[in-house]
Amino acid sequence: MTELGPLLERLLAGEFICQISDAEAYRRLQDENTREAINDYLRPLNRRLASNPEASVWFLAWRELDTSARDQLSSQLALTLNSLQPLLEWMQLVQEALGKDAVLAAGDLLKPAEFTLKCEDNASLKDRLQRLANDRFFNSQSDALDNQVKLIFRRLKEHGYLLQPHDDRQYYLVTSKVDYLLDLIRFIRDEENLPIEEETGQQEELL
């Protein structure tokens, strides 16, 4: 169990484990025996391993849901829902600013400096970035574009959507937590019957 110690600590601390955030730990989690061992260990802590539908991210869920667990989940869900729009806006902004043809995906490399540069050159992007930075989720107090971008990246790192492989080097990797976010959105869409299409047939209307 000691060899799984660091992985357990990360899971208990509420981290999402994926191929990007911790390749070795993620590889271990592919093994059903390891997962069982972890679940056995977590049982007295009322926790168990859980993943998104494609199993690209692993995290801890409550095993038994008592009132306090449900309270905690409710308030957490509310927080996540509040963060949905700013996170999606950010994803779209990055996609447009960097001229990518696809939504951010796990493993994409992002450089804040490049992003700042692209936004500086374009009044509309700059404006959107400013509004995004002032959103409560990012809550920037600065007027300087550079600082706003830095803050946004830092906040996303704190929330586990980005990983900074070297503290002293300014580049980030997108983690599979974005997969989780999109899965959650799909789930909400299906539950609430939201008129959001994912099929090609409807794309002209949406574009």
Binding site: N52, R70, A102, L184
Partner: protein, 411 residues
């Protein structure tokens, strides 16, 4: 002889026309990139030659001068320009040509016209080479597109369309290969060794190699298309959700945490921070712990905290300073007394005699401090003798019991 003359004139014209391409390369490339070629770039005679060589063409007098599609294809092929490269899957036509050539070859052999038969054989080889070349080029073009993730178009929708086009091309190429019926060729060539080698054994190897390459590319294209569709689905989901959220700012979904079955996606257990403290119950750990303690950085006293400490002590300050001054004054009196009396004077005895208010320890400490504060020359004249005692038999710490001061006259 007529045949030879024809061949030589063919070669001559061919060389001239190839040279035309080189001579007008730049103007022709403009035609490749743009819609039309600028007629002003050519002299009248050059224009005539280019039209005669079908390098350029004009649908009618009013319309502009354009590059012929064959030249365009040639350039696209030479440049591996995947946007324009065509895949020619026309196998039926080639097969018809091959059938005719085989018949002509066999007839020539029957007539004993070996020269003609040889020429027919050469044409046969060329036709088969062409066929192979077309497939090789097509497969090369497909791999190029695949390996660049269809990088020659930028938008995802274009990529999806290009991928679908490539898949249709593969289907046509495979259909073309299906048309080659080796039973037919075996029957046709009979026991003629040369033809059998060309049209049966060699062709069979080549066709099966094309076949497996195409299957491989096809599988990869399907895989890539699935990835493109996945990306597209994500894009649409993000766009659609954002549009929805902007339109419905107060959108509030159900509280999934209150359901009897809470979905895993929502069930995120609260974080726990596993904590541990230094424990001294295991003697074997003590060395390691001691090493850790030694590694601790020494706390650096910050200026700020000193300033704060002074501010909080301020109300007591004056009384303290007064007491300090009184103590210092009485120690000075003791020093004067010692100088006056001319012999050793015990600080403790003086303290008792004068019934001083200070605690003995503080008194001795101040006497010692005063001595250390004197200049070196005066220290040499005023000897301070410490009366010390070991703390206990097992403790090597020396405790000062009394101090004696002696004035030594300078020489």
């Amino acid at each position: 002889m007529a045949e030879e003359a024809f061949t030589s004139s063919l070669v001559q014209t061919g060389v001239e026309r190839l040279a035309l391409l080189g001579k007008h390369a730049e103007a022709l490339m403009q035609g490749y990139l743009g819609e039309e070629v600028d007629p002003a770039a050519f002299s009248e005679s050059a224009l005539k030659k280019l039209l005669a060589a079908r390098i350029l063409w004009q649908s009618d007098d009013q319309s502009g001068l354009k590059l012929s599609h064959r030249v365009r294809d040639l350039l696209a092929e030479m440049l591996a320009d995947e946007k324009r490269r065509h895949v020619n899957a026309e196998v039926a036509e080639t097969l018809e040509v091959l059938r005719n050539l085989v018949s002509a070859y066999q007839e020539a052999l029957e007539r004993g016209d070996y020269l003609l038969a040889e020429q027919q054989q050469l044409r046969l080889t060329q036709e088969i080479d062409d066929l192979n070349n077309r497939f090789t080029n097509a497969i090369d073009s497909l791999w190029q597109r695949l390996n660049s993730d269809f990088g020659f178009v930028s938008r995802l929708n274009d990529k999806i369309r290009e991928n679908e086009r490539a898949q249709k091309q593969i289907a046509r190429l495979l259909d073309g290969l299906e048309l080659i019926d080796f039973e037919e060729w075996i029957a046709r060539v009979g026991n003629q060794g040369v033809l059998r080698k060309l049209l049966v054994s060699q062709l069979q190897i080549q066709v099966s190699s094309h076949y497996s390459s195409l299957r491989e590319v096809q599988a990869r294209l399907v895989e890539l298309l699935a990835r493109f569709r996945h990306q597209q689905a994500r894009s649409l989901l993000v766009q659609g959700t954002l549009a929805f959220l902007r339109e419905h700012p107060g959108f509030q979904p159900g509280n999934y945490a209150r359901r009897s079955q809470v979905p895993d996606l929502v069930n995120l257990a609260a974080p726990l921070i596993p904590a541990a403290s230094v424990a001294l119950d295991q003697p074997q750990d003590s060395d390691q712990l001691a090493a850790l303690v030694r590694q601790l950085p020494k706390p650096a006293a910050s200026r700020q905290s000193v300033a704060e400490a002074q501010a909080t002590r301020w109300p007591e300050d004056e009384r303290l300073v007064a007491r300090q001054r009184a103590l210092k004054q009485e120690v000075e009196n003791f020093y004067l007394e010692a100088i006056d009396c001319g012999s050793r004077l015990s600080a403790l005895e003086y303290w008792q005699e004068q019934a001083l208010q200070w605690e003995a320890e503080i008194w001795l400490f101040q006497v010692l401090a005063e001595h250390q504060g004197l200049p070196a020359t005066e220290q040499a004249q005023l000897h301070l003798i410490k009366k010390e005692k070991q703390a206990s038999d097992w403790n090597q710490v020396w405790l000062i019991e009394d101090l004696q001061l002696e004035w030594v006259q300078p020489d």
